[in-house]
């Protein structure tokens, strides 16, 4: 090959391309290589053995990444080399990938009750941030009102996407008070803060605290009265039992697809989604790849392609709608498999099971001395408040019982005192819940 290209060695190629003073003249100082697959396996598994997993420990952590059961078929499809190792090919080579994306969009569209869904973005935080920027572009307004009970890390992501104060495109983020008795949005506060400059009202259902926003419709109505968009973040696993956001006035829906058949992967399983009305006004501002069905030269054959590709930064560069790029598309295919396996009955039953198990857990924990449950309307996650001990101490004790206690929110939400969020899914048995309650009893003594 060297002879073919007229070079004597590869160093000569680099000499032709890269100035001498920029070239490294020594070997890199890196760890000794482990070229043998077996040696590498021993090495990496040796390191990974220092982890403790949620299979070994009983886990009650959620807060943006949840432990749901992943059907074996989901794993099988996610490991298919065709899906795992493809990338940016076109429909003619990758029809199956495009059809899977369209099916993902279609099934998620059924769950949220919306006609337009895009390819996943990175996570719920990014999807909410993108949705807010979308709303701002639609109306040209530069203010958004956000429910107090959204995840703080999600809010931090949103604020980064809303730009620093000095920037001309800065979107002001105002926070809406919530009612302490049920965690819902304080409508009076909303009516006080909303103006004709408000681009959107953003809230979540269920919220970060697990609470259900029972007056979603009224929130959306207030938003619409002021010409603002109603943006709702949802956990799609709840949508067999909770109303789809479109039914209570959402114009844009977002959320995370990780609960739909995707492992936690230490946070690597996240994937955001953005759904909206099938209205040109929304579609041209949507930042994600949107796969549309179309027909082909052959009668009866479906094809797929990118809708309004000129929206994207691949065409518009800095004029694109935010940006498009590598996100979390593999998880769209896995979520499609999951939704197809579940069907309408499965998605309802899993929602019901989560409701029953999480409420059973809350009831059982409320019997533990020194423990109280501030909200009783919730889905999957609920706040647990502790008296006389810190969450940090309690979680340290629980760890000794091989239990990962809930996410500590004592500094994020000081209004609830020493508190944490417990996540109870379809995977928790009555026995698991009993073990948690007994361990807490021992801890609280």
């Amino acid at each position: 090959m060297l002879a073919e290209i007229g070079a004597t060695n590869i160093e000569q190629l680099y000499k032709e391309m890269i100035p001498d003073r920029l070239r490294l003249k020594r070997p890199m100082n890196l760890p000794n290589a482990l070229p043998s697959e077996y040696d590498l396996m021993k090495h990496v598994q040796g390191i990974l053995s220092h982890n403790r997993t949620c299979e070994e420990f009983l886990n009650f952590l959620g807060s943006g990444c949840w432990q749901h059961y992943v059907p074996a078929v989901c794993d099988h499809v996610s490991q298919r080399s065709e899906f795992l190792t493809s990338y940016a090919g076109e429909t003619y080579s990758d029809l199956g990938r495009y059809q899977s994306f369209f099916e993902f969009q279609s099934m998620l569209g059924e769950l949220v009750g919306m006609d337009v869904v895009g390819i996943p973005t990175y996570d719920w935080g990014a999807s909410a941030a993108n949705a807010i920027r979308m709303a701002s572009r639609i109306s040209g307004r530069k203010q958004v009102l956000i429910s107090r009970n959204v995840s703080p890390q999600r809010l931090a992501i949103i604020r980064n996407f809303c730009q620093q104060n000095e920037m001309p495109g800065h979107i002001k983020t105002g926070v809406l008070n919530s009612n302490l008795e049920d965690g819902t949005i304080d409508l009076d506060d909303l009516k006080t803060k909303i103006t004709k400059e408000t681009a959107a009202v953003y809230f979540e259902n269920p919220s970060y605290l697990g609470t259900i926003e029972g007056r979603g419709n009224e929130v959306s109505e207030v938003a619409h009265d002021y010409g603002a968009e109603s943006i709702v973040g949802v956990d799609p696993i709840s949508l067999g039992v909770l109303a789809p956001p479109s039914e209570y006035g959402a114009d844009i829906a977002c959320g995370d697809i990780q609960p739909l058949g995707i492992h936690m992967f230490c946070g690597g399983g996240l994937g955001g989604f953005i759904a909206c009305r099938d209205d040109e006004k929304y579609v041209v501002q949507h930042p994600s790849f949107l796969i549309s069905i179309t027909d082909t030269e052959r009668a009866g054959e479906f094809g797929f392609g990118h809708c309004k590709f000129d929206r994207t930064s691949f065409v518009g560069r800095e004029k694109g709608k935010d940006w498009t790029g590598t996100t979390a598309a593999l998880w769209a295919i896995v979520a499609a498999v999951f939704m197809a396996l579940m069907g309408p009955e499965g998605i309802r039953e899993i929602g019901e099971a989560i409701l029953q198990k999480s409420h059973y857990a809350a009831k059982r924990l409320s019997e533990v001395r020194g423990v109280s449950i501030p909200f009783n309307v919730f889905f999957k996650e609920f706040v647990v408040s502790f008296h006389a001990k810190t969450v940090q101490d309690i979680n340290r004790e629980l760890l000794k019982h091989n239990i990962f206690g809930g996410k500590d929110i004592s500094s994020e939400f000081p209004e609830f005192g020493q508190s944490s969020i417990y996540s109870v899914t379809e995977m928790h048995s009555a026995q698991d819940i009993e073990k948690l309650a007994r361990s807490l009893e021992a801890t609280m003594k």
Binding site: S49, D94, Q105, L111, Y122, C266, F302, T326, T327
Partner: protein, 525 residues
């Protein structure tokens, strides 16, 4: 070299799978959910009353109803109608570095499936060690940067993060209101324009000199000012041309008070050859799903690992992995941090694969990766430039990792352009190739990148297909114009994709539009 007989007889799988929304039968199920025990049901009663009446789902979602084998078969068939890099010679997707990821890495990834990112640090020592060492032992030496974050979920989000760091730096100096311009180049990836724009910056794009392929120093000098916040450029650029004046660029930008961020998405053929530190950049990023072998997942999950100099480390997103000599920690207490970019701390499986791959390579191995990639690129270049109709714009002979070629001559000679050729190469079992991002400075472009994964025989085959299709363009253009012929589908009708009356991103929208406008031929199956 290019006779038909040397090219494989190929036909893509053609299953004619219906859309899953039309499949199945009422009452079928693919999975049964875990039991809710009687004691739970007895204790708390039916589930419905836990949801306020206003928030109950009244109409079930119209998901399909299928048994497990039918779901599995459907998605296996769809997978067969997809060309992964493991199934084909994926040289065509330039800027993407379609390299092989050793299968053993998937074994490691499975061991992270049941880890929750909020677990107590003591129970995550394994993944924290991997993240720490990959930065401190590998990326630090490769890039010359000091501290790293894996939070960005892809290259564009990494550029966004670097833009936020540039913004935070100038804000701390009280200069952000004045310093609001990012300078980039036309052949840098579009994210070097789009991500800083999303962060609020005004973007100044420098266009290439027609001879050298990169902008002149004079153009840069004219662009910099007291408004310059920073420089965000790819090098080598998407043309495969390495800007040899890059150290001058960083000097000029530094002189006016800007910061410099090196987009290392195209770093595969310069690993161990030249680094961000050598060119005096302040920060950089690598796509671990490209250069460091994590599979691309059909557009992610990926990881844009960012690295910064010590002086900027305080701005990194939280948390940062630290080591006290005994234990690894997640450090959230960083007051100057840009905060959060992504929830938790990044795509751990992607970092894990990158670490395992880099460990299997070592110093000599990584340098060899670069050298073989550069050699492959020159070899493919030699092959392609003997094909009638293919030209290489800009007067730079040697290209680093890829080349943006032009089929302009083919188009003017035969009427066959790059999109026609791209449809036709699929008939020979190749993945479609990448043409170009905007702006389309190279007419009728295509951008192959023959990274170290590909053998001489692979490159010979790939170039033979291009030769064959170009020959067809001259001899029998109709076969190219009407391609594909051996693909899963025939040519799609693209006009519908931009027509609000016909586009449909969901089956429900498709059905509604088909029903609403009976006359519109959206072609029911």
């Amino acid at each position: 070299m290019s006779s038909w007989s040397e090219l494989k007889r190929y036909h893509a799988a053609e299953w004619h799978e219906p859309i899953i929304m039309e499949m199945g039968r009422v009452g079928e199920r693919g999975i049964i959910i875990p039991e809710v025990e009687e004691e739970i049901k007895r204790s708390i009663g039916p589930p419905n009353h836990f949801v306020p009446a206003t928030m109950r789902r009244r109409v079930p979602p119209k998901l399909p109803q299928l048994a497990q084998p039918q779901v599995l078969r459907h998605y296996l068939r769809l997978s067969q109608q997809t060309l992964g890099m493991e199934e084909t010679i994926d040289i065509g997707l330039g800027t993407c570095t379609m390299k092989y990821s050793p299968k053993v890495n998937e074994e490691f990834v499975r061991q992270t499936a049941h880890l929750h990112p909020l677990q107590d640090e003591a129970t995550l020592q394994g993944v924290l060690e991997i993240m720490y060492k990959f930065g401190k032992l590998f990326l630090k030496e490769i890039s010359g940067m000091d501290e790293f974050s894996y939070q960005p979920g892809g290259g564009s989000e990494a550029v966004f993060t670097n833009a936020l760091i540039i913004g935070e730096y100038h804000e701390m100096n009280g200069e952000l209101a004045e310093r609001n311009e990012i300078i980039t180049t036309a052949f840098s990836h579009p994210c070097d324009s789009a991500a800083p724009a999303t962060a609020g910056f005004k973007v100044v794009t420098l266009y290439p000199d027609p001879n050298t392929g990169y902008p002149t120093l004079d153009a840069l000098k004219a662009a910099v000012s007291k408004h310059t916040a920073g420089l965000m450029v790819t090098n080598p650029e998407d043309t495969g041309i390495f800007n040899p004046e890059i150290a001058e660029w960083t000097r000029i930008v530094h002189e006016v008070g800007g910061l410099c961020a090196y987009d290392q998405a195209n770093a595969n053929a310069i690993l161990g050859v030249t680094s961000a530190r050598d060119a005096d950049f302040d920060m950089c990023f690598f796509n671990l799903h490209k250069t460091f072998s994590s599979p691309h997942g059909g557009e992610g999950p990926g990881c844009g690992a960012i690295g910064v100099k010590e002086e900027l480390a305080s701005f990194l997103p939280v948390p940062v992995v630290t080591f006290d000599g005994t234990k690894y920690h997640l450090d959230y207490n960083r007051p100057s941090s840009v905060g959060k970019i992504r929830e938790f701390y990044g795509n751990v499986p992607v970092v894990l694969r990158a670490y395992a791959w880099a460990m299997s390579m070592g110093s000599d191995g990584l340098r060899e990766v670069a050298e073989i990639s550069a050699l492959n690129n020159s070899y493919l270049d030699k092959k392609l430039l003997t094909i009638q109709g293919v030209t290489k714009p800009y007067g730079v002979k040697r290209r680093v990792d890829q080349v943006r070629y032009s089929l302009e001559r083919l188009k003017s000679d035969t009427g066959i352009g790059t999109h026609d050729v791209n449809r036709r190469i699929v008939d020979f079992g190749l993945q479609s190739y990448f043409t170009s991002h905007a702006p389309l400075l190279v007419p009728e472009p295509f951008t192959p990148e023959p990274c170290e994964t590909y053998s001489k025989a692979d490159i010979d085959y790939w170039s033979s297909v291009i030769r064959k299709v170009c020959e067809e363009a001259y001899e029998n253009p109709e076969i190219v114009r009407t391609a594909p012929h051996n693909s899963t589908i025939s040519q799609i009708h693209e006009t519908h994709l931009d027509d609000p009356a016909r586009w449909a991103m969901t089956w429900r929208a498709y059905v509604r539009k088909r029903t609403e406008s009976g006359k519109i031929k959206v072609n029911p199956p």
